[in-house]
Amino acid sequence: MGVDLWYALVGAVIIALSVFAFISARHLMKKLLAFNMMGSGVFLIMVGLPQHQHGVDAVPQALVLTGIVVAVSATALALVILRRYVRSGGDPAP
């Protein structure tokens, strides 16, 4: 089994674990953490899997960099709204 498949497999395991956490967790903060972990799994597949064609590939690295920026801003927005929600008396673990 090649290195590329290893990356993809580990990525798939991370995704599976975090999907489980995302769905089963009730606390909204835990869900957000699970989302971030799931992102890492996807990025691992994205960078790892294409290596089987022509070694290390620059394009997916650039894609993942964009993906990380998007994930960070999404997390920031989620945190702001979550904090407002809790301050207005909302229950973070409905």
């Binding site: 899997l49 989620a78 709204i81 407002r84």
Partner: protein, 479 residues
């Protein structure tokens, strides 16, 4: 010409953040005119010169970002510019009493427009992902505008659904890149084979996009988000935002992954659509709140879009073409009708102070224009002639007959009756004589912009040829 459509909304988004607050509203009208003008010019260019593509910074496809404008794209661009313009005019007057909210509304509005245009023009799967994420973030921001607790909860649910959906989509994109080494859609549609990798990728992307399009049973986030937001926001979200993820779904099923999808999978998608029509209509029939009625109606109407898959996959070419045309017309007609409906309902809610259907008594005498707009949009949603909605359903029904799929015929025809059942709830109450609430005066522009949108939804019934002819100008790719 093509990148201008991205530059205008982005520039205005940044301007409305940077300029002093009193300017935010002043630049709206010039921005809308520019945007609408640019969309129309691009429409004409494509109509006369055929599809065009544009490589950003002169970097060609596999490495660079390319934008593609064909007939279908420009139809959607024009639709977006037109609906956004009318919703913005409404918002200018509607938001007068929301002092804090209106300064956050406009930057988000422009970002929303930029990401929609980006999605229509994108020619590779990753740009679609970026567009989807930007769209989701600005839409969530708009839902949270009032920062009241129910709005914040709705925004959080929406955000989590959107984020989960985009990651599932991105996982599919990662598999596609791993297998084929490119994400450019024109290249992929020639390379993609019907193997197991593609099928897993298409499945992942579909789940993500179904969640983002709020297709039954993944629609849980839509009613509170669309029904709880401010009226112009609800209109934009229901008319345009959910259509973006459906557009990508259709692109993947009928173009990129056409060899990987099976007839039984397409029938399953149709079954989800039928579930959406039934469940959405039933809930719209039951809810006591008028805005929730319109939001559940969106859930139901999105179900018709799903009819595209069983009616266009595994059937004769003639039937598939009709299904495709019917779906596009439904998308356009629903966008206009639903925007009109949310805007007119928003005016009614503003006038009586809250949104209980039971208290709408007597509004027909005080606000005839708003109710007329609601009625016209309801005609299109029910699919009564003459309206855009009628032509769309007619094409879908004909396609179902041609391919002999009678079960979908029943669903499409029955859905119209269900729609009638829930919209008549409003008429029954509003035409009663007794006024149960003090009715406040509202700005006439609020009713006018809703009425204009409703007229377009009806007018689409007479001018269906236009968008259909423009749509035929594809550069290969979409059927």
């Amino acid at each position: 010409m093509i990148p201008i459509l991205l530059i205008i909304p982005l520039a205005f988004a940044i301007l409305s953040l940077l300029l002093p607050r009193k300017w935010t509203r002043t630049i709206v009208i010039p921005g809308l005119i520019l945007q609408l003008g640019a969309a129309l010019i691009l429409c004409l260019t494509i109509y006369t010169e055929g599809p065009q593509d544009y490589a950003l910074g002169d970097w060609q496809a596999p490495l660079g970002i390319s934008l593609l404008a064909d007939g279908f794209t420009v139809t959607l661009l024009a639709l977006t510019a037109l609906i956004a313009a009318l919703c913005a005019i409404y918002a200018l007057f509607f938001l007068e009493r929301y002092n804090r909210e209106q300064f956050y509304f406009w930057p988000l509005f422009w970002f929303l427009l930029a990401s929609l245009n980006g999605i229509w023009l994108a020619a590779d799967l990753f740009n679609l992902y970026v567009g989807l994420e930007l769209l989701g973030l600005s839409a969530v921001g708009m839902v949270a505008l009032t920062s009241e607790r129910p709005a914040l909860k709705a925004a959080l649910d929406y955000l989590y659904a959107a984020l989960f959906g985009s990651l599932a989509y991105l996982a599919g994109v990662a598999l596609i890149y791993g297998a084929y080494g490119t994400l450019a859609i024109p290249q992929l549609s020639e390379m993609v084979a019907g193997n197991i990798t593609t099928q897993v990728a298409v499945a992942l992307m579909s789940v993500g996009l179904l969640l983002k399009t709020a297709i039954f049973p993944l629609h849980f986030w839509l009613p509170p988000a669309h029904g709880g937001a401010l009226a112009p926001v609800s209109a934009l979200l229901s008319a345009l935002v959910v259509k973006a993820s459906f557009y990508i779904l259709a692109l993947i099923w009928l173009d990129v992954g056409a060899l990987a999808v099976t007839v039984s999978a397409a029938q399953l998608m149709g079954a989800l659509g039928a579930g959406a029509i039934l469940w959405g209509s039933w809930n719209a029939f039951k809810t006591p709140q008028v805005k929730m009625l319109v939001a559940y109606s969106t859930v139901a109407q999105l179900g018709y879009l799903m009819m595209l898959f069983p009616l266009a996959i595994g059937v004769s070419e003639a039937a598939a073409t009709m299904a495709w045309q019917g779906t596009i017309l439904h998308l356009l007609a629903h966008a206009f009708a639903k925007a009109a409906m949310f805007l007119s309902v928003g005016t009614l809610v503003l006038a009586i102070g809250h949104g209980r259907i039971a208290d709408l008594g007597g509004v027909s005498q005080h606000m005839p224009m708003a109710l007329f707009a609601f009625g016209l949009s309801a005609v299109s949603l029910m699919g009564l002639p003459p309206s855009g909605g009628f032509n769309a359903k007619w094409l879908l029904l004909q396609s179902a007959i041609q391919s002999g799929q009678w079960h979908w015929f029943v669903v499409i025809a029955g859905g119209g009756l269900l729609t009638a059942a829930y919209v008549f709830r409003i008429f029954r109450v509003s035409f009663t004589e007794t006024v149960r609430h003090e009715i406040q005066a509202t700005h006439p522009m609020l009713q006018l912009s809703a009425l204009l949108l409703a007229f377009i939804a009806i007018g689409l019934g007479f001018a269906s040829e236009w968008p259909l002819r423009l749509m035929d100008l594809t550069g290969g790719g979409t059927p």
